[in-house]
């Protein structure tokens, strides 16, 4: 299986815990014979990077450098994520079968890629806007909340780390618990469980559209 992981932070760019988490679990995926491409952001260290642990990382910068909020930053860098991901998908003859999008920041490119290539995505939710902003209801917070809600609706599966988060998503965003998988990183079967979630989410790719384009 070939997958694409979208994350807004990845070493050496480390902002919170997400960068190290993704780097740790993605390296484990490689050991399970999964071909992992990571598309991530970095202001200066852009380009392709084949790491010793087998991860293939493509880093992009935001072409729009000046911003008024993280929201405008995210909504513009999304197109650059779409460019980099499309390039990977085309260069691997469209054999990417799944996208794993981490946090709301990567929801938008994941949805675009799903619609354009019929590649399903797993939305990995680590935190939600309600927790980060303590329930703030300004238009800024609501716009982010809306992106999170959109991510839950468009994703094939929603992946969380605790039953508490699963309940939150059900109550707050109305996500069916049947759509949510809980995989605790402390579990002995951590990676195997994630792989199961992936396999569950993969649909038959390549609709007629792409066959026509090929022909």
């Amino acid at each position: 299986m070939r997958i694409l992981i979208l994350t807004w932070e990845f070493p050496p760019k480390i902002v919170g815990e997400l960068a190290l988490y993704v780097s740790r679990f993605a390296a484990q995926l490689v050991k399970k014979n999964i071909d992992v491409y990571i598309v991530t952001h970095d202001d200066s260290r852009t380009g392709f990077d084949q790491r010793q642990d087998g991860l293939k990382v493509l880093r992009v910068a935001n072409p729009v450098r000046t911003h008024i909020s993280v929201l405008t930053w995210d909504l513009t860098v999304a197109a650059e994520f779409e460019r980099a991901s499309s390039d990977i998908i085309y260069s691997t003859a469209r054999t990417v079968s799944l996208i794993d999008a981490h946090e709301w920041l990567c929801v938008i490119p994941a949805i675009a890629l799903k619609k354009a290539f019929d590649i399903p995505f797993v939305y990995s939710v680590h935190t939600i806007e309600d927790q980060r902003s303590r329930g703030a209801t300004s238009p800024f917070n609501l716009a982010i909340t809306n992106i999170e809600r959109l991510g839950c609706a468009e994703a094939e599966r929603v992946l969380v780390k605790s039953t508490e988060m699963r309940d939150k998503l059900e109550i707050r965003y109305g996500v069916s618990p049947n759509k949510i998988d809980v995989v605790q990183p402390s579990s002995d079967t951590w990676i195997d469980d994630i792989v199961k979630v992936y396999e569950n989410a993969v649909r038959t790719p390549l609709e007629d559209f792409w066959r026509l384009v090929e022909a």
Binding site: P63, T76, A78, I111, A112, F140, V213, E214
Partner: protein, 404 residues
């Protein structure tokens, strides 16, 4: 057999949703392209009472949800509604089985959707830059403006080629975005001559604005500094000391009160008529009954007002700011006066009012020029040749929606 080309146009406004000038431009251009044997799909935003899909004079118009949820500012809203434009774009391109040849984006307002679509489906992108943040604000003064500027720059660099409405704008875009000048095409805006052919009772209509013994001088534009309405007010007493005239100022703007009080101060209040906004057909008729159309602009990306005066066979007096000097040639198709100079403007107005034969010669030349260079069919031809050039280059390259 020549293959029919499919063009996908993205615009944040399309009639009946009209905010600025892009709606009318995209409307006229897309209709003219459709008449030029192109299949044009316009994706734009919803408007109360309008259809989600309709065919207008051969143009396929798709309107999507304009994102009505809370958003903190205009730019964030713009980027959010781009998600809907993009989703529609993907759906449309897939329903057309990949047969979209060129994506044509209008201004930064559709940048993220357009750039994303380009790469997702590997279809060449063309951008029309109607104006720049740098030009609109006369520099970049805040982070917000810099962000818009960088988005415009990004779009113009992602685009295969860029279209601007004048050589002046093409040079500004090339300079402001560091874009090679040869990547930018100057294709003017057009004017629809049929809109100036409506039948009407000339004397009766004119009476609403001026008495038969008064010459009618027409100004159309926003009442803001860069349109030069202030210069016109200062010129009026100089004109009135020679001929009797009525000055009709059509448009709104933050300078309106200042201009009215200045007119009172100069003792010419009874000779200036501030009409406010007027509907388009009325403005077209006004052009036709006017004795002279003045364009005293200090900054002008294109100068559609001068073109409309020429199309209505009314002599035009203008400053030559920005794109104006490309439309009007002094002494041949109009009169050019000094910038920001009431004396010169008054001289220009008197020059055409006092010499009937001279004015007639100007209007004949001007009308011929409009037919030759500014008809929408001519502009559609030129736009089409840009599409063809892009497609020739695209076909030679390896960047395609198939595996490498």
């Amino acid at each position: 057999m020549v293959q029919r080309r499919n063009i996908l146009m993205l615009s944040w406004e399309f009639p009946p949703r009209i905010v600025g000038g892009i709606a009318a431009h995209v409307h006229d251009l897309s209709r003219a392209l459709a008449q030029n044997d192109l299949d044009v799909h316009v994706i734009s935003l919803e408007f109360p009472g309008s259809e989600g899909y309709e065919e207008i004079e051969g143009v396929h118009v798709h309107r999507v949800d304009s994102y009505n949820y809370p958003s903190p500012d205009f730019a964030s809203w713009t980027f959010m509604m781009n998600l809907n434009l993009q989703a529609k774009g993907i759906e449309l391109m897939r329903s057309l089985k990949g047969y979209v040849d060129v994506i044509h984006a209008h201004d930064w307002l559709v940048a993220t959707a357009a750039v994303g679509l380009k790469h997702l489906l590997r279809v060449p992108l063309l951008a029309t830059i109607h104006s720049t943040e740098y030009g609109r604000r006369n520099g970049l003064h805040t982070d917000y403006q810099t962000m818009i500027h960088q988005t415009e720059s990004w779009l113009s660099h992602e685009a295969w080629r860029v279209i601007c409405c004048s050589e002046y704008m093409a040079s500004q875009v090339s300079w402001a975005f560091g874009l090679p000048r040869q990547n930018v095409e100057a294709i003017p805006n057009g004017v629809d001559l049929d809109k100036f052919k409506a039948k009407f009772d000339r004397e009766n209509f004119r009476k609403t604005f001026a008495s038969p013994k008064e010459k009618l001088v027409l100004f159309v534009g926003r009442l803001v500094y860069e349109k030069g309405a202030g210069v016109l007010i200062e010129a009026i007493p100089k004109v009135l000391s020679n001929v009797d005239a009525k000055f009709i100022c059509v448009g709104e703007g933050y300078m309106k009160d200042v201009l009215i009080s200045r007119a009172h101060h100069l003792g010419i209040a009874d000779k200036v008529y501030f009409t406010g906004f007027l509907d388009d057909p009325t403005v077209k008729l006004l052009y036709r009954v006017a004795d002279v159309c003045v364009v005293p602009s200090l900054y002008e990306p294109f100068g559609i007002v001068a073109l409309e005066g020429m199309a209505a066979r009314t002599p035009v007096v203008m400053t030559g700011a920005g794109g104006l000097s490309e439309i009007v040639e002094h002494d041949k198709t109009g009169v050019r006066v000094y910038l920001n100079d009431p004396d010169s403007l008054a001289w220009g107005i008197l020059r055409v009012i006092s010499d009937r034969k001279y004015a007639e010669r100007l209007t004949q030349n001007a009308y011929r020029k409009v037919v030759e260079a500014y008809s929408w069919s001519r502009i559609a031809e030129r736009t089409r040749s840009v599409y063809e050039r892009i497609l020739r280059e695209y076909e030679k390259g390896s960047w395609k929606p198939v595996s490498i």
